[in-house]
C-alpha cells in the first residue's frame, strides 16, 4: 500500500479534498461498502413488470439470477410511478419468494380433520369430474314458460382482481359455455 493510497483511505482526507465536504457520501464509504455489489448489477436478466397490489399500476423491474428473483425495484421509466414503490410494492420480493407460499396441492376430504397431499393431475381430474357432476345435478334447460335457460346454478366462482385480463377472459368464456352464470369478482365488493 503506497502512501497515497493510505492517505486516501482516510475519510477525513477524502472529505477535505474530494467532492463530499459534508462527509455523507463517497468520503464516508468504508472499504467493505466499496467492495459490495448490488444484486441488481449481477442479475442475469430483468423482467419489466407491474406491481400486484393497488390499481395505480406502478412499474416494477424484477431482477433474476440463477432462475430466482433476487430483487424487485420500481421502474424509473414509468410515467405513472417514476420509479417509486410504496411499502407493499417494496415488499413484493418477499411476496413472491416467501417460504410461507404453498407450493403443493392440498386436499381436505369431506369430514376430514387434516390436509392431505394430492397429485396436481389427479386434483385437476377430480375437479373436472365435480364440475360436470354439479352441472348435471343442477342443469336447467328452460323455465316454467318454456323459455330457454341453458344454465346451472350449482356452481359459483369468486375471483380476485389481481388476475390478468387474459385469465379473466378464458374464465368467463369457459364458465359461460358451461352455463355457469354465478361468476363474480372483487369488483362486486
Amino acid at each position: 500500500m503506497g502512501v497515497r493510497t493510505w492517505i486516501e483511505g482516510w475519510p477525513v482526507y477524502r472529505q477535505l479534498t474530494g467532492t463530499d465536504p459534508l462527509g455523507r457520501g463517497a468520503a464516508a464509504q468504508s472499504q467493505r461498502s466499496k467492495e459490495l455489489t448490488a444484486r441488481t448489477e449481477t442479475a442475469d436478466r430483468v423482467a419489466k413488470s407491474v406491481c400486484p397490489y393497488c390499481a395505480v399500476g406502478c412499474g416494477q423491474r424484477v431482477f433474476v439470477k440463477d432462475e430466482k428473483v433476487v430483487q424487485i425495484e420500481g421502474d424509473p421509466d414509468s410515467p405513472i410511478s417514476r420509479g417509486r414503490l410504496c411499502p407493499k410494492g417494496s415488499a413484493s420480493k418477499s411476496l413472491v419468494t416467501s417460504d410461507r407460499r404453498q407450493q403443493k396441492v392440498l386436499y381436505r376430504r369431506p369430514y376430514g380433520t387434516e390436509w392431505e397431499s394430492l397429485d396436481l393431475d389427479t386434483a385437476m381430474d377430480m375437479i373436472a369430474d365435480r364440475v360436470l357432476a354439479a352441472r348435471e345435478q343442477t342443469w336447467e334447460d328452460a323455465d316454467a314458460d318454456g323459455r330457454p335457460l341453458n344454465r346451472t346454478l350449482g356452481i359459483s366462482s369468486l375471483g380476485g382482481a389481481t388476475l390478468d385480463n387474459e385469465e379473466n377472459y378464458i374464465i368467463k368464456k369457459l364458465f359461460t359455455a358451461l352455463g355457469a352464470i354465478q361468476i363474480e369478482n372483487q369488483a362486486r365488493i
Partner: protein, 847 residues
C-alpha cells in the same frame, strides 16, 4: 389516497407544489389529510347532503360554467310534466311502488318520451340483475331530438329541476347533517368553483368510500353533476377519478368475471328481456338513439365469433342460443345465502378471500361449510381455505370439522412475476408484464388452470349428443402447443381479427355485424394495433409528452382522457391556451391535440345530423358525450338508474339519525335480504336504535392489502402493522372507559369482534341535529391466518346493497363498543344474541 394509493399521491403533491389547493373530505384524519391544505371531517354516510350542498351553492350563485353546461350537458332539456320530485313526495320520486319497492320510471323521462317508459316490473328486474346504467345506453331509449330551452328558464328544464331539487341543501342543512361548520363548507364551495372554468380545472378523486354504500352510485352521480356543472369533465386536470383498489380490478370489470356482464359491458342475456338475439341487440343499441352503442351488433357478433368460431353462424344467431340466461339476482351475496340454504354444490375462489374480505364474514364461512366442494387457488394458506379447521365458527362450535362435508382443494397459484399478461390499472391503462421466472412446485397461473380444466371438460363431453354440451364442444380453445397457454394468443383473441385476411383489428370501428370479424372485448380492440402488443410499450415517460401515450395502452383507442372533445369549446377551439388538450384543426380538417381525440377524427364542430338520423351519424359536431343516447353529459338521468334521476340524501341502512330532510329514512330501493341470519341494526326513529349508538367505518392501511392474503403473510408488512385495532376519539374513550393500547370489543347484530384501542384525535365527535355523534374506525385486513392475526371487521357488517350495482354498504354502520375482550367460544353467540334481544331483533317464540 396517500394511505391506500401512496405512489399515485405523488401527483397530488406535484400539483400542490405548483399551487393547487388540496381539500380532503373524510370521516377520519389520515396521511392524506396531513398533506392537504384543508381537512374537512364529515359524518360517514352523509356525502349526498354535502355534495348536494355544493350543487346548491353552484346553482343558487350561478357559478356554473354556462357555455360548457349549455353545449355539453342536458341542462336545457325539458323533463316530462309527469315528473314529481322528492321535494314534493317527502323523499320519493314519482312512480314508486311500495309493493316491489321499485319505480315506474316513465315520468322521469324527457318530455315527449313518455310512451317508452320503464315500468316498475322492469325496474325490479334491473335491480335484480344489477343492470342500472351497466352501459350508457341502458334503459328506455332517448330520442335523438329532445325539446330544449337554451335560456334555461323553463321550469321543467333540467337546470331548473336540479335547482329546485337541491334548494334545501343549504350550508345550514349541510352543517346539521354532516357536522361540517358552515364556514368550512363554504370554503370548499368557493375553492372548487373559483378553480373551475375556462382557465382552470378541478379534479375530484374518490375511492370505495363512495362505492360501498346503499346509495353508492348516487354518491358518484353527485360528484359527476358538480364536475359537469363546473365544466371539469373531459378536460386536463379535471374529471372524476375513481381510485380502484386492486391491480386489475378495472380489467376484471371490462373483461368481467361478473354475473350480469359479458366483455365490453355487453349484458348477459335475461330470460324475458332478451329472449331472442334481436331483442338482446336492440336492448343495447336502441335503434333510434345517438352514439357508438348503435354498433352494438358488431361488438356482440364479434364476441360470439371469438367464443364459437366457425360454429357461430348467421343461421344460428352466432350461437346466441348457447348463452345461459339470467332470471334475477345471481350476485356474490345472493350466492352466499344460497350456499347456506344448500342450493350451491361447488365454489371456486381465485385469489379471493371472502372469509375476511366480504361483508358478513360469518355468512361467508357458514356458506362455504355447506358446499359439496370448494377450490381455493391462492399463493398462501388463507382463511377461506381453513374455515373448516381454524375459523371463528369452529371456536363457537357452529362448524365441527368431523361434521363438515365440504371437500376442499387447495391449488397453489403463480405470482405476478411467474406469468405474463396484462393488468388494467385504474386509468383504464393496460400494462403487459413479462414473466421473470417459473412458478414453484405445483403453483400454476389461472390461465393454466382454466385452460387445462377446459381441455379436460371438452374431452369428457366430446362424445356427448346432448344439446346442452354443444357450447362446450364448439368452444374455440386453441392457445398454443406448450403446457402453459400463450397469454399473447388470448390477448390477440380479445383484440380481434378480420376473419378473412386473418389480420388483427386496429379499432373497434373495423368490427362487422356479419360474422366476418371476431373480437373478445370490443373496447380492447386496438391493443394489438398494427400487430404490435401495444400494452407492452415502455417508452420512458421522460421521453414523451405529459400524456405519455406510448406507455402501455388505454381503452378505448389509447385515449387517456375520456370525452376529451369537451376540452374544446363548441366551435372546436381550446377553452383557453392554459387548458389546451384536444382541438379542431380547421386547416387539416381533423381533430388533433396531446391525446387521442374522443371524437370522429374528421367530423367538424359545425356538423349537424340530417333529420331522422340515429347512431353515430346522429352525433352532432358538438355532442362531446358520444356514448350517451343524446350526446350530452347527464345532470339529470332520465333513464337507467334504479333509485332516482337525481341523487337525494338518504340515511345509511343503519343510522342513529332520523333523516332530517325527508320522511323516507333510507334508500327506498336498496337491495335487502330479509333473513334471520342477516339482521339489520334498528335505525332512528325506530325503537332500540340506541342499543348500537355509534357510527363505524372501515378502510385500509398503507402497509396491508385487502383481506391480508398478500400482506399479513409477509414479515416486513406484518411488523409495520402488527395488530388489529380500533380508533376512537378521546371523548368516546372517556364515555366507554377505553384505554389506549388496551382491549375493546365492537358489537353489531351480526357479531362481536375484539381489537386494540387507539385513542386519537384523528377522529372527532360531530354535532349532528343538535347531538353528539361518535364515529369509530377500523382497518379490515385481519383474519385468523398469517404472520399476524386478529378479528375481522367485515364480520360486523350485514348484507344490504346498492340497488344499481349490488355492492354492499360496508363503509358505514352502527355498533356498540365496550372495554375489554369479547367472550370466546359458545359464550360469544349468547353475548351477541343478548344484544339482538335488547335491539328487538330476536324472535321470542323460540324458533
Amino acid at each position: 389516497m396517500a394511505e391506500a394509493h401512496p405512489v399515485g399521491f405523488q401527483w397530488v403533491i406535484e400539483a400542490k407544489k405548483r399551487g393547487a389547493k388540496i381539500i380532503h373530505v373524510d370521516p377520519r384524519f389520515t396521511r392524506t389529510s396531513a398533506l392537504a391544505h384543508s381537512f374537512v371531517p364529515v359524518r360517514a354516510g352523509a356525502d349526498i347532503a354535502f355534495l348536494g350542498g355544493v350543487v346548491n351553492y353552484i346553482l343558487s350563485n350561478e357559478k356554473d360554467f354556462r357555455e360548457y353546461v349549455l353545449a355539453y350537458t342536458n341542462a336545457s332539456m325539458i323533463v316530462s310534466e309527469e315528473f314529481q320530485d322528492t321535494e314534493d313526495l317527502d323523499g320519493l320520486f314519482s312512480g314508486f311502488d311500495p309493493e316491489t319497492r321499485a319505480y315506474d320510471q316513465s315520468s322521469w323521462q324527457y318530455a315527449g318520451q313518455q310512451d317508452e317508459g320503464q315500468e316498475e316490473g322492469e325496474s325490479h328486474v334491473d335491480r335484480e340483475t344489477a343492470s342500472g346504467l351497466e352501459q350508457e345506453s341502458h334503459g328506455p331509449p332517448i330520442p335523438a331530438d329532445v325539446p330544449r330551452d337554451p335560456t334555461l328558464q323553463d321550469p321543467r328544464c333540467v337546470y331548473q329541476v336540479l335547482k329546485r331539487h337541491y334548494a334545501r341543501y343549504t350550508p345550514e342543512v349541510v352543517e346539521r347533517l354532516c357536522g361540517v361548520p358552515q364556514d368550512k363548507f363554504l370554503e370548499v364551495c368557493e375553492a372548487w368553483t373559483a378553480n373551475s372554468g375556462r382557465e382552470r380545472t378541478t379534479a375530484l378523486v374518490y375511492s370505495v368510500g363512495w362505492t360501498q354504500h346503499s346509495v353508492g352510485v348516487q354518491y358518484i352521480r353527485t360528484g359527476a353533476i358538480i364536475q359537469l356543472l363546473l365544466g371539469n369533465m373531459g378536460r386536463p386536470g379535471g374529471g372524476v377519478m375513481a381510485l380502484r383498489g386492486h391491480a386489475s380490478i378495472q380489467g376484471s370489470t371490462d373483461i368481467p368475471t361478473l354475473f350480469n356482464l359479458l366483455p365490453g359491458y355487453l349484458p348477459m342475456p335475461h330470460v324475458s328481456q332478451h329472449e331472442t338475439f334481436g331483442q338482446w341487440i336492440d336492448a343495447i343499441r336502441h335503434p333510434e338513439q345517438k352514439g357508438f352503442w348503435a354498433n352494438a351488433k358488431s361488438y356482440a357478433v364479434s364476441l360470439l365469433k371469438s367464443y364459437w368460431g366457425d360454429a357461430a353462424t348467421e343461421e344460428n344467431d352466432y350461437g346466441y342460443g348457447w348463452l345461459p340466461r339470467l332470471t334475477g339476482d345471481h350476485g356474490t351475496y345472493q350466492q352466499v345465502l344460497d350456499m347456506i340454504d344448500g342450493k350451491i354444490k361447488g365454489y371456486f375462489l381465485l385469489g379471493q378471500n371472502p372469509a375476511v374480505g366480504s361483508a358478513h364474514g360469518r355468512a361467508q364461512r357458514l356458506g362455504m361449510a355447506n358446499l359439496d366442494w370448494l377450490v381455493v387457488r391462492d399463493l398462501f394458506m388463507i382463511e377461506s381455505a381453513t374455515f373448516w379447521k381454524n375459523g371463528p365458527e369452529v371456536e363457537t362450535g357452529e362448524i365441527v370439522p368431523e361434521q363438515c362435508k365440504t371437500e376442499v382443494f387447495f391449488m397453489p397459484a403463480a405470482s405476478h412475476v411467474e406469468k405474463e399478461g396484462t393488468f388494467t390499472q385504474t386509468q383504464r391503462m393496460l400494462q403487459w408484464r413479462e414473466k421473470a421466472v417459473n412458478p414453484p412446485g405445483d403453483a400454476r397461473s389461472e390461465l393454466w388452470f382454466f385452460y387445462h380444466l377446459g381441455r379436460r371438460l371438452k374431452a369428457r363431453l366430446g362424445d356427448s349428443d346432448k344439446s346442452r354440451d354443444e357450447a362446450i364442444k364448439n368452444l374455440t380453445w386453441e392457445y398454443g402447443s406448450s403446457d402453459e397457454p400463450e397469454a399473447e394468443l388470448v390477448l390477440k383473441e380479445i383484440n380481434g381479427y378480420d376473419l378473412e385476411s386473418g389480420k388483427l383489428l386496429s379499432s373497434f370501428t373495423e368490427m362487422k355485424p356479419d360474422g366476418s370479424t371476431a373480437g373478445g372485448c370490443w373496447i380492447y380492440t386496438g391493443v394489438y394495433k398494427d400487430g404490435v402488443n401495444q400494452a407492452a410499450r415502455r417508452k420512458p415517460g421522460s421521453e414523451q409528452n405529459y400524456v405519455a401515450p406510448e406507455w402501455g395502452w388505454a381503452w378505448p383507442a389509447n385515449r387517456r382522457t375520456l370525452y376529451n372533445r369537451a376540452s374544446a369549446d363548441p366551435e372546436g377551439n381550446p377553452w383557453s391556451e392554459r387548458k389546451k388538450y384536444v382541438w379542431w384543426d380547421a386547416a387539416k380538417g381533423e381533430w388533433t391535440g396531446d391525446d387521442v381525440p374522443d371524437f370522429e377524427k374528421t367530423k367538424p364542430p359545425s356538423y349537424r345530423p340530417p333529420e331522422g338520423a340515429s347512431g353515430v351519424e346522429a352525433i352532432s359536431g358538438d355532442d362531446a358525450f358520444i356514448m350517451q343516447g343524446d350526446g350530452k353529459g347527464w345532470l339529470y338521468a332520465p333513464s337507467g338508474l334504479i333509485d332516482g334521476p337525481m341523487p337525494t340524501h338518504y340515511e345509511p341502512a343503519e343510522s342513529g339519525v332520523a333523516n332530517p330532510l325527508y320522511g323516507q329514512q333510507a334508500n327506498p330501493t336498496r337491495k335487502v335480504y330479509d333473513r334471520s341470519d342477516n339482521l339489520t341494526n334498528p335505525s332512528a326513529p325506530d325503537r332500540h336504535a340506541e342499543v348500537f349508538p355509534y357510527v363505524f367505518s372501515t378502510s385500509r392501511l398503507t402497509e396491508h392489502h385487502t383481506a391480508g392474503g398478500m400482506s399479513r403473510q409477509l414479515p416486513y408488512l406484518s411488523e409495520l402493522q402488527p395488530e388489529m385495532f380500533v380508533e376512537v376519539s378521546p371523548a368516546l374513550a372517556a364515555e366507554r372507559g377505553l384505554t389506549h393500547l388496551g382491549w375493546a370489543h365492537i358489537v353489531t347484530a351480526r357479531a362481536a369482534i375484539e381489537a386494540r384501542v387507539m385513542v386519537t384525535d384523528r377522529l372527532r365527535p360531530l354535532r349532528i341535529e343538535g347531538r353528539t355523534v361518535h364515529q369509530l374506525w377500523m382497518p379490515y385486513h385481519w383474519g385468523g391466518e398469517g404472520v399476524v392475526t386478529g378479528d375481522s371487521a367485515n364480520d360486523l357488517i350485514g348484507i344490504t346493497l346498492d340497488p344499481n350495482v349490488l355492492i354492499q354498504e360496508s363503509k358505514v354502520g352502527t355498533c356498540d363498543i365496550r372495554a375489554g375482550r369479547r367472550p370466546a367460544g359458545p359464550g360469544l353467540l349468547a353475548y351477541v344474541k343478548d344484544y339482538r334481544r335488547r335491539a328487538g331483533l330476536e324472535d321470542d317464540s323460540g324458533k
